[in-house]
């Protein structure tokens, strides 16, 4: 456990030792018990492990935990604010954007990155933005609608 790191996850600071080879996703799941971030592959393809690091969507299976030292990390567990769902969470529920729920956290984290940079995406832009995330249940149809729902919600005054 040769490397001491300090990472702020969902607003809470965590310090501890990790092996150099520990992937960020394993750090989140095994060290911090944040199992909402999932592992679906070993080739950085499926996107189930997507989180935000310093405000950007990244695949936490392709970042070493030591690289997150000093970073701000947001996982699916940190999306809701004081118990009220994030619009993207609401969108997935309202538009039936999930079935088994396994890819959902990664999908939502990618979608929020998209909406941050492109608040009003077209259907094509949404589909293109999801190219790093696999879903095997929904055929993506309702995921697209969920993201459209969130985009609309985030743009309308609360």
């Amino acid at each position: 456990m040769g490397n001491m790191i300090t990472v702020t996850v969902n607003g809470k600071e965590h310090s501890g030792g990790v092996e150099g080879r520990t992937l960020l996703v394993d750090y989140l799941r095994e060290h911090l018990g944040l199992t909402g971030t999932h592992i679906g592959c070993d080739t950085s393809s499926c996107g189930a492990c997507t989180i935000h690091m310093d405000g950007k969507a990244v695949k936490s299976c392709t970042v070493l935990a030591v690289q997150a030292d000093g970073s701000e990390v947001t996982t699916v567990e940190g999306l809701a604010n004081n118990g009220s769902l994030h619009p993207i969470q609401e969108g997935f529920k309202e538009e039936h954007g999930l079935q088994c729920g396994f890819c959902t956290p990664g999908m939502m984290m990618t979608a929020t990155d998209l909406l941050k940079n492109n608040p009003n995406p077209t259907e094509d832009e949404i589909r293109h933005a999801l190219e790093g995330n696999f879903c095997r249940c929904t055929g993506y149809h309702n995921i697209v609608k969920s993201i459209q729902y969130a985009a609309k919600k985030m743009q309308s005054p609360a």
């Binding site: 199992t35 909402g36 999932h38 679906g40 070993d42 393809s45 309202e94 088994c100 095997r136």
Partner: protein
């Protein structure tokens, strides 16, 4: 009264999933838990000459390394749950499928050793240091080649690699005679390629032996915990069932691949006692590619004969089905009773014969994958009829209308008896295709197609399908070789406060049972949906169950719930009658209360519930409590059907196919939650389209799976698919109380041939009269078809 049924109630399970609180097997951590990692064969066929674990055993954190010889003889291999016999009556060949190989590996990924260590990383590090000396042997991967003389043999006791041969329908000579008299015969040689289910959650299992209670708990990513318990206890480990609890917690998709009992489950369960600690194993994705049962993999030749009017007069199908290296739980049923029996399709074909040879090969086991046999049957029929339309220069929709079985509701009119052993429950086939044509704007499309001139070829493809689901009547499947009953179980437990806990043997891994079932319960009992809780996935909580597959949850599991509710209400009425001082026959139940007919005297469900548990003023001789079990065994399969239409554009320069539109009109009987049903259809479509356009294993001649990763095996992504245009008709199932048929597999069954037919249509209209482009229709294959 329906407050909920038929409405798109938002899913109650979503909250935990969208907040990251779902609990999948790999999320579970037990005290003192160790981690297992498998050493797997890199070869498809080899003799294990020696295994040296000396170096590996000394690696940090290693607790134990198990090899085949460590497993007691008393522990049997993984069993098969379905027996199909040879045509001559001989029993199918059923070679052993050990938990860990002792002498011979038979596919890449066969388990050779199991390393248990304190961390997953340590287990993997040590697994890398296990030295196995192999003598490599020749391998065979194609089911047809496997049965040829001189092919490498998978099992000593299955000569010619034949597991069984099988036949169904009219005698071959009768079919041949009808075919000979046909005005036109369309013949096609084709493959229904092997695909990998690829649930995004990799399989995972935790075995935990508790010395205090002398009891095992297995957490596993399964579609049917009770069946796993039954198979593992009775056939593998020989442990009594009451000493084993199997929990299938949240499961990240199954699509068939998590129905089966796998060696890893039995191994972690047994080893947890041997090693004295809980053991978790979770597959890497590349491991999943090698060990999760694959789907499809048929090599077929089929002929369809037509008279001069375009009426189908005969069908002859020959199929070689690949079973892989070992028999998976339901493998023998897939190419036979889930495939051959569907050869009638929606058509009045009078003479049908289907002939199947099932072969072992040096590949991963093949079993049910979304649709299981029915997609293969539909593909065969729908490719033939669309091709026939092109060959005979007839309209493919018109040709289908001409051959559809006339409407029957299964009540006034009898069910339709096929040439291939089934009786369809109810059907009305014209409307689905008519509606699909309307949605397409068919005439307009044909004009647009004829006018296309931009280097692209437009094509349209049809598929009208029927499937048999709601699996299944126990007596029927028993006669066909199933070694289990396929009923379902439900328990409705009314709490003293009138809240309702429902225990179901069906298992949700994305289908939304916690919502759909609650809708049924709430409506039938006239209570709020928030007052209902659905519990599933735990063999200690739920009396029994057969799990979820074959689009059976609602038709079978839902019906069991209805029957339990009926029992609850029947007893409730007795209590209510006592409280109301009336006869039970004079009561009617609605909106959560019993009312004496024609009066305003009533008692609420809540009061009756409380009385059942506080029986101070209570009917004499009646047991207290309000808690009923029901076992529901369906009278027949259910038969959803539909019409799917694909519109594609083929790039003449590159062969790239763009799926421009996809229209699906399905009839799944009555619908409880339209939102969820639509979602099931969407998902099925994506998988069916995936098979047509993107997916398929590539084995090399030595049996290596050379596209065993997401970098190489192509699954559809969001930008590969259009938004789907879907609609439905409703033809209720006449034989179950909900009138439902099942929607889980429909999308996957109908879509594949529609897409392939669309590409073939595009090519014909562009002047390339090819009969087939092998799936997946990669750009190179389509380009080759145009440039040969």
């Amino acid at each position: 009264m329906t407050n909920y049924i038929g409405k798109s109630v938002k899913r109650v399970e979503d909250k935990r999933f969208i907040t990251g609180q779902g609990k999948y097997t790999d999320d579970i951590k037990l005290n003192g838990m160790m981690y297992g990692y498998f050493v797997r064969s890199p070869y498809a066929h080899a003799i294990v000459k020696s295994i040296n674990i000396d170096r590996a055993s000394k690696m940090p954190g290693v607790n134990k390394i198990l090899v085949g010889a460590d497993i007691p003889e008393a522990i049997a291999g993984v069993p098969c749950g379905w027996q199909v016999d040879f045509k001559n009556g001989d029993t199918m060949k059923e070679p052993p499928h050990p938990l860990l190989v002792r002498k011979k590996v038979r596919h890449v990924g066969d388990g050779v050793a199991f390393v248990v260590a304190e961390t997953r990383a340590q287990a993997k590090d040590a697994a890398d240091e296990v030295d196995v000396d192999y003598e490599i042997l020749d391998a065979v991967t194609c089911p047809k080649k496997a049965t040829e003389e001189g092919a490498a043999q998978v099992h000593e006791d299955a000569p010619g690699n034949l597991c069984f041969d099988w036949e169904l329908g009219n005698p071959k000579d009768e079919v041949a005679a009808a075919m000979a008299a046909a005005a036109h015969v369309t013949e096609l040689d084709f493959s229904n390629q092997r695909v990998v289910p690829n649930a995004i959650e990799p399989r995972s299992a935790i075995g935990h032996y508790d010395t205090a209670y002398d009891k095992y708990t297995l957490y596993t990513s399964t579609q049917n915990p009770h069946l796993i318990r039954l198979l593992m206890c009775a056939f593998v480990l020989g442990i009594p069932e009451h000493k084993v609890r199997v929990i299938g917690p949240d499961v990240g998709g199954g699509f068939g691949s998590k129905i089966f009992h796998y060696a890893e489950e039995a191994l972690v369960t047994w080893a947890s006692k041997e090693l004295g600690c809980p053991i978790k194993w979770t597959a890497d994705r590349s491991e999943s590619f090698l060990t999760d049962a694959h789907g499809r993999d048929h090599v077929s030749n089929a002929k369809m004969g037509f008279d001069s009017e375009g009426k189908i007069v005969a069908l002859q199908a020959y199929t070689y089905a690949n079973l892989g290296a070992y028999l998976s739980t339901f493998a023998p049923a897939v190419p036979t009773y889930l495939h051959g029996t569907l050869m009638q399709g929606l058509y009045t074909t009078p003479k049908i014969n289907v002939d199947v040879k099932a072969a072992f090969t040096h590949t991963c086991a093949v079993d049910a994958y979304r649709g299981a046999g029915r997609p293969e049957a539909t593909y065969l029929l729908e490719r033939l009829i669309d091709l026939a339309a092109l060959e005979m220069d007839m309209d493919p929709a018109e040709l289908r209308f001409k051959n559809f079985i006339p409407a029957f509701d299964g009540v006034e009119q009898e069910g339709y008896t096929t040439q291939v052993a089934l009786q369809y429950d109810s059907g009305n086939y014209d409307p689905v295709l008519k509606r699909a044509l309307e949605m397409v704007g068919y005439e307009e499309f044909r004009k647009e197609q004829a006018a296309q001139s931009n280097g692209k070829l437009l094509g349209i493809g049809f598929s009208t399908y029927i499937e048999a689901c709601g699996i299944a009547p126990s007596a029927v499947v028993g006669a066909l070789g199933a070694r289990a009953g396929l009923f379902e179980v439900a328990q409705v437990r009314v709490q003293p406060t009138g809240k309702v806990s429902v225990f179901t043997g069906a298992h949700s891994h994305g289908q939304g049972h916690e919502t759909t079932f609650a809708q049924i319960v709430a409506d039938r009992m006239g209570i709020g949906i928030d007052d209902v809780e659905i519990i599933h996935g735990d063999s200690d909580s739920v009396a029994f169950g057969m799990g979820t597959y074959g689009s059976r949850s609602l038709a079978v599991g839902g019906s069991a719930i209805v029957n339990s509710i009926d029992k609850v209400l029947e007893k409730g009425a007795k209590i209510a009658a006592h409280l109301l001082e009336a006869s039970a026959d004079d009561l009617e139940y609605a909106e959560g209360k019993w009312t004496v007919k024609g009066t305003d005297k009533s008692v609420s469900f809540g009061d009756v519930s409380l009385t059942a548990y506080v029986p101070h003023n209570y009917p004499e001789g009646l047991e207290p409590g309000l808690d009923f079990n029901a076992f529901y065994d369906p009278a027949n399969f259910t038969y959803p059907f539909g019409a799917h239409v694909a519109i594609v554009e083929v790039d003449k320069e590159t062969g790239e196919v763009k799926l421009k539109r996809f229209i699906a009109v399905d009839d799944v009987g009555n619908v409880i939650n339209p939102m969820i049903v639509d979602g099931q259809i969407h998902g099925g479509l994506a998988q069916g389209i995936g098979q047509a356009m993107h997916e398929g294993t590539v084995y090399d001649e030595t049996g290596q799976l050379i596209n065993g990763s997401y970098m190489d095996y192509c699954m559809p992504r969001a930008d590969d698919l259009p938004s789907f245009e879907i609609d439905r008709t409703v033809t209720p199932c006449p034989h179950n109380p909900l009138g439902v048929k099942g929607a889980g597999e429909a999308g996957c069954i109908g879509s594949t041939p529609a897409v392939v037919n669309a590409v073939i249509d595009a090519l014909w209209k562009g002047g390339f009269k090819v009969k087939d482009v092998p799936m997946p229709m990669t750009p190179e294959r389509v380009w080759t078809a145009m440039n040969n």
